[in-house]
């Protein structure tokens, strides 16, 4: 028995004991097959009684295998692998095995407190341990890097889809959401409603009270729209003083008009910036996906715009359904 195995297994006490008391041929999970060479098996007779297949195979038969696996019965989580050679004719003089810990190396080193001295200088075990440890460190670093990059990418994505002033969705985000909603509705998914909002009198607030007041109004409008949205709805700023609401799910025209009136009422609530009143209102244009077969984003946006202009022409501060505009024509 070599010095490393001796150290690992209290070898002095093991000498002269039957092989099968300490080792099992095969891995732990391998099923023990009855010993193929039962008659000639050198481990089948223990204490005068036949113990068929205790070792899984006779020591002579494993000498014919290209590779042998052993499990340590005292440490079943650790296996050994290597080569077996029969000594003498028919293995009469015993079996010589050259073993290594294979991929159990790290566990074995920890379990048996092995050191550099326990491996032959020609053995690559130390290189393998070194490589494994270094690799784990590198992997840790790479994983942390991946996490940082992933976080940064998600943040950049969010920024690319958000209006920096109001934190509402920006035009790009709204168009993407709209494409998705249209595609869904075209395939028989949930219908949706679009409300375009043009602020009234915003330009005069900006011109007379300054940009700070204008920004203040835009922020307040964003807050109102945000509060009026249900889960699943999306509010976006399309640019300047133009906003768009995407309302998912079926709604009746009455429900939409009711919501529109409520939004207008809230937009008209007095807003005070540095002691000066900012008066705005909103002209709303509404299109509903159910009026389109199939719903096309571009067409719906054009129609919403038309309805919004109709609302402006009708005296501002009102909500117009595109469907009602078309009525007289049909």
């Amino acid at each position: 028995m070599g010095p490393t195995l001796r150290k690992a297994l209290d070898g002095d006490a093991m000498l002269d004991q039957p092989f099968s008391d300490h080792f099992r041929v095969g891995r732990l999970q391998d099923r023990i097959e009855p010993c193929g060479a039962a008659e000639s098996c050198d481990c089948t007779v223990v204490g005068g009684a036949k113990r068929l297949g205790d070792c899984g195979a006779s020591l002579l038969t494993i000498a014919n295998e290209r590779m042998v696996h052993l499990t340590l019965l005292s440490q079943p989580a650790i296996g050994l692998r290597g080569e077996a050679f029969a000594l003498g004719p028919q293995g009469r003089d015993g079996t010589l095995m050259n073993l290594s810990f294979g991929f159990y190396l790290r566990e074995a080193v920890a379990t048996f407190s092995l050191t550099e001295r326990d491996f032959a200088p020609a053995d690559l075990a130390m290189e393998l341990l070194y490589l494994q440890e270094a690799k784990s460190l590198v992997m840790q670093e790479l994983r942390a890097l991946t996490q940082r990059l992933d976080g940064a990418r998600k943040q950049a994505e969010t920024q690319a889809l958000t209006d920096p002033l109001t934190a509402l969705a920006n035009r790009r985000a709204m168009e993407a959401a709209l494409e998705q909603a249209s595609a869904g509705a075209a395939q028989g998914g949930a219908p949706f409603t679009l409300i375009q909002i043009d602020l009234d009198y915003f330009k005069s607030v900006n011109d007379t009270l300054g940009h700070a007041a204008g920004d203040y109004v835009l922020l307040d409008v964003a807050r109102i729209l945000h509060e009026e949205m249900r889960a699943g709805d999306l509010a976006g700023r399309m640019g300047g003083d133009e906003f768009l609401l995407l309302l998912r799910g079926a709604m009746t025209p009455e429900q939409v008009m009711h919501l529109g009136d409520r939004i207008i009422a809230r937009l008209q609530e007095p807003k005070w910036h540095e002691g000066r009143e900012c008066l705005v209102s909103g002209s709303l244009g509404v299109v509903m996906s159910l009026d389109y077969q199939p719903p096309e984003t571009e067409r719906m946006l054009v129609d919403a715009d038309t309805a919004t202009y109709a609302a402006k022409n009708a005296g501002r501060g009102c909500c117009v359904l595109y469907r009602d505009l078309e009525m007289p024509k049909t």
Binding site: R66, Y104, Q132, L142, T146
Partner: protein, 198 residues
């Protein structure tokens, strides 16, 4: 589940069925179109959802899909090379599967491959038991065994038993080796620079 597994499914979908299918699957499964980072961990439920949506989209049985995934993976050159470390011929390769879980653990601790155990059943007949969660690894390895038989030039019959006595997580693959050297097989040289063509 390690992102590497999800990423494999993503690459399989993209390479085999095209980007449009991947986008459709990703969209329905609630995954961003960029997909997965191989070294990050994701919830197991996400992998299940991804597979469900992929099978629904392609109108395939889960186990058929997974078997094709196994074949796809073992025909990627870097993976094929790692599998060819198994040995000189197909029988060596089959035996080396006993070590696959341990070996991958050395390389990637977070990749939980199933436990593979090969049993000989007499001349040229083997059964590979595959125990691991979630179910379906057996199908993946059936695909791997098929592809590697081609790679080694061996003629084999492979049959997957989805349910075995090893419990709900256990699957078994019956392998019948008809001819180890049926065709010439593809070449493999240990010294071919690993990682040169990732």
């Amino acid at each position: 589940m390690l992102g590497l597994v999800n990423r494999s499914i993503q690459n399989f979908l993209t390479d085999t069925f095209g980007e449009r299918i991947w986008y459709a699957v990703a969209c329905k499964a609630g995954v961003s179109p960029e997909g997965f980072e191989p070294m990050l961990s994701y919830e197991d439920a996400l992998t299940d959802r991804l597979l469900d949506v992929a099978c629904e989209t392609l109108d395939r049985r889960l186990f058929d899909f997974l078997e094709d995934l196994g074949t796809y993976l073992s025909t990627r050159e870097p993976v094929r090379r790692l599998l060819r470390y198994g040995g000189r011929d197909y029988v060596d390769f089959l035996r080396s599967l006993n070590e696959l879980q341990g070996r991958t653990q050395l390389a990637l601790e977070d990749l939980k491959l199933p436990e593979l155990t090969l049993r000989g059943l007499g001349v040229g007949r083997y059964t590979l038991s595959v125990i691991g969660a979630p179910p379906g690894w057996g199908a993946v390895f059936a695909g791997v065994l098929r592809a590697m038989a081609d790679d080694y030039g061996a003629l084999v019959l492979i049959e997957l038993n989805e349910h075995t006595e090893d419990g709900p997580a256990g699957e078994a693959i019956a392998v019948q080796l008809l001819d180890s050297f049926h065709a010439s097989g593809r070449s493999f040289d240990l010294s071919d620079a690993a990682g040169a063509e990732m």
